[in-house]
Symmetry: C2
């Protein structure tokens, strides 16, 4: 028997998880696995970049789960600084360019896994290419930003974009003793939260000393001698020794699109629940795809390492003849900004309305531990439920230590389609160091059940 | 219309939650609510007693959620130091003795809620009534123990019983600088965990300096001049300036049994899912009842404030003409011993086997946060699933900070009857300060899915 050949495009979370899973299932005699990565790092924690910048993590190596050499030792033909520039689905080949010498080769595949990741949004603003304007998509960029903070005398930094990445980078720069301004074009930080919860995040940012500029679009960058000196918005010019772009990313689907693969409304590669693209024997996983939102029933593109890993696993199993499914997402996300924690899952009230649900929301203030237990911290939970029957559609949490991971129970309730009336009695762990007698999650469920007249709450 | 009359027996979590719920639903013109409590405190956090003893909580008042006067202000006729000594279901009366003057009165009721709590197990061992031997069931006992630690020169203490209460009290005494020995008749601390997980708890106890004596039954107490000086086991005599009994409790169901109400195999009062006892218009809630275990499908008596509150709410709603159900428990429990955290839900491997399940277990070691994030801590997760199909039957967690509350997701998975294959892809919150890319819960699910051949894990 001739060994068949699996080609993986992209050497980070999704691609290398797929490759490793395939390797575990097929010996080198059965299956050759060739992985192309255009950068020089593999399997690194992009989510860890803010902590490297903030010197919470001291060494970039700590963010690298597996080096190219590690992968080679595990039986993968790992080729870094090699960019796949074209796919010929009919011929079962990819064209690969070496970034070291510019040579291009044609490589055959039997099965292909695309894990090309995401491209940071980088608006063509005047001055955006000046020195001191940093993206943070790749580990190389993260290392460069860290070096700039280490070696320059940075007094003022501006972070552009108030989503998770922007906030985590703002925290990082605050931790480095830098005066930080955060510019967000929308009316609130964390645009995926409802306005009432977003306002709490804005308060938290003020508390940690971040100068928040909402509803101010960046119009350009002030540059002196090739280096950025300020950020210009409609309202003002913010001084900046350094600028970080955290505006967001979009799926890097150009390669797939050029090969004729279906790309969806989010610009993500279209896949089914087995991570199969529209081309036979071609799988895709991670930030480059669009996946299925279990509540809105719509395609979504969410760049997050944990999805990339899970989808990579599924792609690796199915690309080697197995049968695994990725059942979609509910849009869970958690983040920390200094002592504050933010979390969300499912649909916000606004998103629920946009998706056609008749939704109501219950919002409660509670504590993370028993009121008398030291270290108890405040949190607010907002639970969004369907008006008819009270099915949990989503939730948001803003609070302090111990708040964010409570979203997991609500994520699972959203995932399974539980109602607020069912949720309020669930047997969650209780002891004074961990929870009040009624966990905040249950208090929110109780309030939501009352709103929809369920579980006896309003049957007086 | 003449007001009807609700009588509540027991002034703590279950009883006062029922009373407060009834009050919210019915005005004083519609419903008179009379509550009898034989102690002098109401609505206090019995679960907080270890923290009062350990001086983690400084003031006993902090443990009191509502005083008798608070309840009166809320429209309840709260009578402390009044013990209900008999119930006549046919006559719709209770006999009540004043503990101040010994007088007995007969009080009518239309609806009755029994919330008589639990009775600590107190074996008739020689010397058990000596000074310095403490129970910790009531707030009064907790205050007395705290006072003994505050004012005596306690060098050595012995805690009898290695369950949650025993361990929490051992922690409390360690925090007070006392040499603590823990005596447990069984082969491990935390008898409701499987032996492998119990062994981790034993290690944790050693690490915090507790002298652990397993498989040693207490045979009696050494007493000198009326005061305890030691604890005698088959193996040795342990010096003790102070002894705490944490052997466990049983439902206080005598009053109900004497009135002819059905009492079950656990000695708890039998109730249906509406907290109705076998007598019409008589409800019961809290530690005095037995409830329904959703996995074993068997009655269980679990003394825990969070259940008492939930059941009290249901009793209060139904006693006032509403319709609410308590859907049972899955036996979730969490506890902290110094820096260690312990949690369980559902059935252990042993309990699953006893309940007739063909179960397998997956055990994994993981971390609470991303490996590179400071403060990441080890934890072990054991997931028990049905061999055929992989339905989650229960889980156990032992670890350090951030470990225990992860049981909540597993509790909900157990509650809803999810399979390991379904669980492994659930969209739980991920960010480096909160979780590895694969949350430990998902890693355990993945391992369990592989054991049962689900979700593509073993279809190579």
């Amino acid at each position: 028997m001739t060994a068949s050949r699996l080609v993986v495009v992209g050497g980070d979370a999704a691609g290398m998880t797929a490759a490793a899973q395939a390797r575990r299932r097929r010996s080198p005699d059965e299956l050759e696995i060739v992985c192309f990565e255009r950068g020089e790092f593999t399997s690194y924690a992009a989510c860890g970049i803010p902590y490297l910048v903030g010197d919470v993590v001291h060494d970039p190596d700590a963010l690298i789960a597996r080096t190219p050499e590690d992968h080679r030792r595990n039986g993968l033909d790992m080729r870094i600084r090699h960019e796949v520039v074209a796919i010929d689905v009919a011929a079962r080949t990819v064209n690969v360019r070496s970034l070291d010498d510019g040579t291009e080769t044609t490589e055959p595949f039997d099965q292909l896994v695309l894990a090309t990741g995401a491209t940071p949004i980088r608006p063509p603003l005047p001055g955006i290419d000046a020195d001191g304007v940093f993206g943070v998509q790749t580990l190389g960029e993260g290392i460069a930003l860290r070096a700039a903070v280490d070696t320059s005398n940075v007094e003022h930094a501006v972070v552009v974009g108030g989503g998770y990445i922007g906030l985590e980078l703002a925290e990082a720069l605050v931790l480095r003793g830098i005066q930080v301004a955060l510019v967000e074009a929308g009316p609130q930080p964390m645009p995926t939260l409802d306005p009432d919860m977003g306002a709490l995040v804005a308060d938290a940012l003020h508390h940690v000393g971040i100068d928040l500029h909402l509803e101010e679009a960046v119009e350009g960058f002030e540059v002196d001698d090739g280096a950025v000196t300020g950020v210009r918005t409609a309202g003002c010019v913010l001084p900046a020794d350094l600028v970080v772009l955290g505006i967001g990313v979009r799926p890097a689907s150009e390669l797939a699109a050029a090969a004729g693969l279906a790309v969806g409304p989010t610009r993500g590669i279209v896949v089914d629940d087995h991570q199969r693209t529209s081309a036979d024997g071609v799988f895709a996983a991670g930030d480059c795809i669009e996946t299925f939102h279990r509540v809105s029933r719509r395609p979504v593109a969410i760049a997050l390492g944990t999805h990339a890993n899970k989808q990579g696993r599924v792609a690796g199993i199915n690309a080697t003849g197995g049968d695994a499914a990725f059942p979609g997402v509910v849009g869970t996300a958690v983040s920390k900004i200094c002592k504050y924690e933010v979390a969300r899952t499912g649909l916000s009230e606004r998103e629920a309305s946009d998706a056609g649900f008749d939704a109501v929301a219950a919002t409660i203030d509670a504590q993370t531990r028993a009121s008398y237990y030291p270290g108890t911290r405040p949190l607010r939970v907002k639970l969004v439920v369907e008006r008819d029957g009270g099915r949990v559609l989503g939730a948001q949490i803003v609070g302090e230590e111990g708040a964010a991971k409570r979203i997991d129970v609500l994520a699972l309730a959203t995932w399974t389609g539980m109602t607020a009336g069912e949720l309020l009695n669930v047997d969650l762990g209780y002891a004074p160091p961990f929870s009040p007698l009624w966990d905040p999650v249950l208090v929110a469920a109780r309030r939501a059940a009352a709103l929809v007249g369920a579980a006896g709450e309003s049957s007086a």
